[in-house]
Symmetry: C2
Subunit: 418 residues, 2 copies
Amino acid sequence: MKNLVGACMFGQSGGPTSVINASAAGVFMQALQEKNITAVYGLAHGIKGLLNEDFYDIGQEDMNELELLKYTPSSALGSVRYKLVDESIDDTDYKRILEVFKKYNVRYFFYNGGNDSMDTCNKISKYLQKVGYDCNIIGVPKTIDNDLYGTDHCPGYGSAAKYVATTLMEINLDAKVYDKPQVCVVEIMGRHAGWLTAASKLADYKGLGPDLIYLPEVPFCIDKFKNDVKRVMDANNGHCIACVSEGVQDKDGKFIVEALSEAKSRDNFGHAQLGGLAIQLSSLINEEFGVKVRGVEFSLLQRCAAHLASKVDVEEAFNAGKKAVEAACAGNTDKMIIFERTNIDGKYGCDYKLMDLELAANTERKVPVEWITEDGTMLSDEFVDYALPLIQGEAKAPLEDGLPRFAKLKKVQAGKAK
Amino acid sequence: MKNLVGACMFGQSGGPTSVINASAAGVFMQALQEKNITAVYGLAHGIKGLLNEDFYDIGQEDMNELELLKYTPSSALGSVRYKLVDESIDDTDYKRILEVFKKYNVRYFFYNGGNDSMDTCNKISKYLQKVGYDCNIIGVPKTIDNDLYGTDHCPGYGSAAKYVATTLMEINLDAKVYDKPQVCVVEIMGRHAGWLTAASKLADYKGLGPDLIYLPEVPFCIDKFKNDVKRVMDANNGHCIACVSEGVQDKDGKFIVEALSEAKSRDNFGHAQLGGLAIQLSSLINEEFGVKVRGVEFSLLQRCAAHLASKVDVEEAFNAGKKAVEAACAGNTDKMIIFERTNIDGKYGCDYKLMDLELAANTERKVPVEWITEDGTMLSDEFVDYALPLIQGEAKAPLEDGLPRFAKLKKVQAGKAK
């Protein structure tokens, strides 16, 4: 545990969320107050900005704009998908990072992302320890996928879940408006874990949800899917809404969207641009039962719809950033912030703890199978109890001309890339 | 001008909007107060409910739930797409309508919809006049397409436009987050008129809009589209966001989505299920320039996202319903409610007037070509001046468990279909 004096660097990594900038606000606002932190730098495009000496002097930003970051979706500094190779294979990047850290006397490093980003943090931390360069490194979790190991939930999930549940309620009212049969298939993000697709259960809890929910945690069988849809249609005047995770797989672990695309390509000897999973599954239903179908893909909307952010999520994301700085300044390193759920007199609460980075890197946390009903098409009330506290309240940008007023950073260059 | 005493019927028709139920609330709440109206009936699935004697007694609904209708998207009574054939060809439906009207002493009829629905209103009105049955008939406009003739704008447009503009701002922040080239093509509803796609200009006005906007009002050329995208990419670090109306057509009036699908089918001798316009256009860009692409389709979300409703739109939609009842009770018939824009001391306002139904039926109002820039890829500031007042303010359902509490109607059967 070392109390270091020097600059801090913060970077954003991986896919955007509605609240990744709220964590940035937490890091920046706390770091600017810490007496041991001599400068606060924001990396352009995460680790790439570090390697390229491309970063901004956050001390020159207007405090009102940093406050607005809480309500501004995506990654204000720019994001990156860059995986560090093992130092034992090639240590070029590691040497370069050390060089930049020394040049700007960087003694605090914070990185905001999912599994891969925690792996990056961990590798940098281990290398710096090996070469004897003191730098306190804390990972700040984020992912709409909610699949990070060791934390009750992840910043970003609550807001994405609120988007999914709210939008599903609206789609429910729309898709059942005619008295003719219609099947609507909604595709939701989540390649390996079904947390976000499961959030559609919250709409069902309010009586306006999907009829069927398919997660990657349960093998997906196309024939069973057709039978499930038929059963629901027969019971509901021909209407059915099915939510499907983009990552559903067959019993051999093959992604359904790939299996369907390959089958189509074989049939056609060509390379027709195929729609995604929702389009293809709804098309199968149309071919089989001759009913009107709609394939809806939430696409980017589900991860950047800050106008539907959860207040709980925004506050927790901000605190995750703030606590990371506090922990590092107290001498901690090589850790990730995690959330522990508290329940005092039936009231939800969140405690912020530290976990070894090593544990966070590259492990995935899935939806417990016991929360999925036996036929694999719905979630249990245990999931509702888990997820409902995470989507509470509203926290969004003030309106200007009827539209959100997002943060505008000056981005004053502080690296050599001036 | 006749002051009649009897029941009133109200029906909803065509595609849902965020505020069609706000007009229903306006009709119901005013009709329940009118001394000449002896009963208020809501038709299940519009004209079909009338033909089938399938309707509800609105007098038995809780007033709080009618109030919540203002913030509940889609069509609470159920909608329909049913076009009456000319009475001269087949008068079966007309006779049936007269029979039902007589049976329940219906003397007021209100119908909420777009061009086709106004045509239905007009035909019923003319028939009843011909056979000498007194019934005051007023059409209430609605359409996210904003293409009804004779009115400054249509209820439903403001909220859909607010959704498009807000979401585009969020997509802008998300789609440009990486430092690698990426092209995002967003498909927006509007088969013949580009009003809704044009609303993406409002995001551009706030500095976070698309780079290119294509409306059906201007012939679409695929080669020019590719060149436009390339030019923007070259100027913007490889990033480009293009908004395309689903209804863009080539110079011969052929829908581009159909032309592309046919070309693909010919290539493949088969029937692969193809994506929509956004998927296909983004795929062309990927093939041509080898960059990462995203095709985003707003689909149902743009017309039912009541959580982003415009307060101006909700209030005007409510007033359109209320004014329709007032006008009918004052003895007017065979009219549609229209909006006239007022500007007093630079402040936007809306006057409610009446127009002959005949004028409203089956005519389309398009975006003025002089509001489209010469190269056909952007809107002028005149469009901003037109559209900005329509998206102001928020009006949405109260939250319950962090999710919208929409109206729950009892739907007490009043027709023979008990």
